[in-house]
Amino acid sequence: MDWVSTKATKYADVPYEEKLRLFLEVKNDPRYEDYLYGCYECGICVSACPSARFYDYSPRVIAQTMAREDVDRFYEIMVEDIWNCAQCFSCVRCPRQNNPGGLVTLIREVAVRNGLKEARDVLQGYSRVIYKVMLKGNQVSPDMLQPDFFPDWGPWVREFSANMDVWRQAIPADTMRGVTDAAWRTDEKTLRELYTIWFETNNIDIVREVDEGLYELLLDVMEEVLEEEEVA
């Protein structure tokens, strides 16, 4: 008897074939074979995992589920668990050389690529970082440190915010001095090359799945920059 198909599942409204399709998308990633070699259920990964300590989350369950090819459980993990991982890779102390954090990365990528609602929800409020990474080639910048976004960092953020421009001028390194919208000064040619990479690897299409508005904005800016280059 096929125990998988008779088991009560949490997301019974999603067809098994759809869950299987997503599972195979993860399993067929070329990195997959480097990340999973089977699982002893020893829990060594769990003992090292920061997210297991604070959430109902377990890298062991992820490795086990993938190794058993439990497609229904995989779907639950994809919807409920993956965004809890802190991507610290403490779990790679696994005696079987598994990389549960790496498996999480693969599952996340498939969730995003397929525009899963849960992935879109989780990444709300994330657009600014994606915008920075893709347009500036830097993921964080001084102008992201705003008091209303980091109130728990204390009065320091307010002091910083009031002085950002002059503090940035007061850094002796040429590449950083005065730069507030990126971490350092980057050549225009470098950014053009980066945009080419986003197009050539279809990375830009992934953004569309997460945030259509951001996608349109990025597309406009990048295409304009690349067209200018062609004209020149």
Partner: protein, 406 residues
């Protein structure tokens, strides 16, 4: 007493016994052999570590070459953007030793944040971004020195993927062709803290601030030694090679007392997406599993680490915890900042301590550094910039140590 009960004395006794491993059983795989084979087949160019370099021992005994100069500084966005004294200290140290290096503008970050936080990326895009940076370094003739622990860990993993997956390699080469760049892979992926490690005795020779009365806790950065574990530096004289030697090596060379604590293996709580949109996790983890444990067990004068997110997380998470009367209040610095501080770097022009939020003043006072005097000096700099008399600080303002050897 239940059958499975083990008295705490016995656990402590077991923990105190060294773990003896047979070095002959260590994995000896050296990725560089495959790299050179691919180069011989004309698939890629291997960028050699320039002379002079120092050889160090990695986890399983492989010798790794760490270049001293002619380095291309692959900066970290988190360091440059939010803790600029970290990067400035790395450059300041190079300048103090008169070493040849390049701080490029033809560099993007690794974009690993897209990968680890939001997954709005894919493997080939990540490899192409890395390879574009390496090709840019190759064009200048300078060898990449990676400032960020995440970029370093990510690039080590990405290098393995590039070597082991021909279809990815072909795709990256096609993209680089479009950019007019060759596919270049450095012989070694080197983290700046490895450079600090091999420079530690030269740094100690130039020490002008006595630090022998300080106690520090080290937070080893996860992405430095947990991703591609075999490539981090280990030294039998440092924790019996049971932990990575970087950072601790520098601190002991500076005569600082490095105190152990029970949660050393734990991450800092950064979490990539968590530090931005789920900071309750980040704060709780940083405080409950790191800072408070250090406070309770050793009460250090400072925490020293060697990665971007760790400095930010451990430093910035302490404010909210203080409001809850948790035991916090330990300044957090990078190894490069501590090295520069020992050699007399200006606390604000170089170390840029005003970007740190946990109170660093008691540490300055314990070191006998009159921070108020330097803060006033720095305020004059800022006023001159505000008045338009100075376009900004330069190395001319920052190179001079605050204390010089008599």
């Amino acid at each position: 007493m239940s059958a499975g009960f083990v008295p705490v004395e016995e656990i402590l006794d077991r923990k105190s016994r060294p773990v003896l491993r047979d070095p002959r059983e260590a994995p000896t795989h050296d990725l560089r052999e495959e790299l050179f084979e691919l180069e011989a087949k004309g698939e890629l160019i291997v960028m050699r570590v320039p002379e002079p370099y120092v050889e160090v021992t990695t986890k399983f005994g492989r010798k790794k070459k760490i270049p001293i100069e002619h380095t291309w500084h692959h900066k970290s966005c988190g360091q440059c953007g939010h803790i600029p004294g970290y990067s400035a200290s790395i450059f300041w140290l190079h300048r103090q030793f008169g070493l040849d290096f390049l701080d490029p503008t033809d560099q993007t970050s690794c974009t690993g944040w897209n990968y680890y936080a939001s997954a709005t990326s894919n493997a080939v895009a990540q490899l192409a971004v890395m390879s574009r940076n390496f090709a840019a370094a190759y064009e200048t003739g300078y060898f990449p020195l990676i400032h960020c622990g995440t970029s370093y860990g990510h690039y080590k993993e990405a290098r393995e993927q590039l070597i082991h997956h021909k279809e990815m390699r072909d795709e990256v080469r096609r993209i680089l062709d479009k950019l007019g760049k060759p596919l270049v892979v450095p012989e070694e992926i080197v983290h700046y803290s490895e450079w600090v490690h091999v420079m530690r005795h030269r740094i100690a020779e130039r020490k002008v601030i006595d630090m022998s009365h300080l106690t520090a806790c080290v937070h080893p950065a996860c992405h430095y030694y947990k991703i591609v574990v075999e490539d981090a530096i280990y030294d039998p004289d440092i924790y019996g090679a049971q932990r990575t030697a970087t950072v601790t090596g520098l601190l002991t060379a500076l005569d600082i007392n490095v105190a152990d604590y029970s949660t050393w293996f734990d991450c800092c709580g950064f979490g990539f997406r968590h530090v931005l949109v789920q900071r309750d996790f980040t704060r709780s983890f940083a405080v409950l599993r790191k800072i408070e444990v250090m406070k309770n067990e050793v009460d250090p004068d400072m925490v020293v680490t060697h990665d971007t997110g760790c400095v930010t997380t451990l430093d910035k998470s302490q404010f909210a915890a203080k409001a809850h009367n948790r035991k916090v209040g330990v300044p957090v610095l990078s190894d490069a900042q501590v090295a520069a501080m020992a050699m007399g770097a200006h606390p604000f022009r170089v170390l840029q301590l005003h970007w740190h939020s946990t109170d660093w003043r008691p540490l300055m006072e314990k070191l006998g550094i009159d921070w108020q005097r330097y803060w006033e000096e720095f305020q004059e700099d800022l006023d001159a910039i505000r008045r338009g008399e100075k376009p900004g600080l330069t190395w001319e303002d920052a190179d001079q140590p605050i204390v010089t050897v008599a």
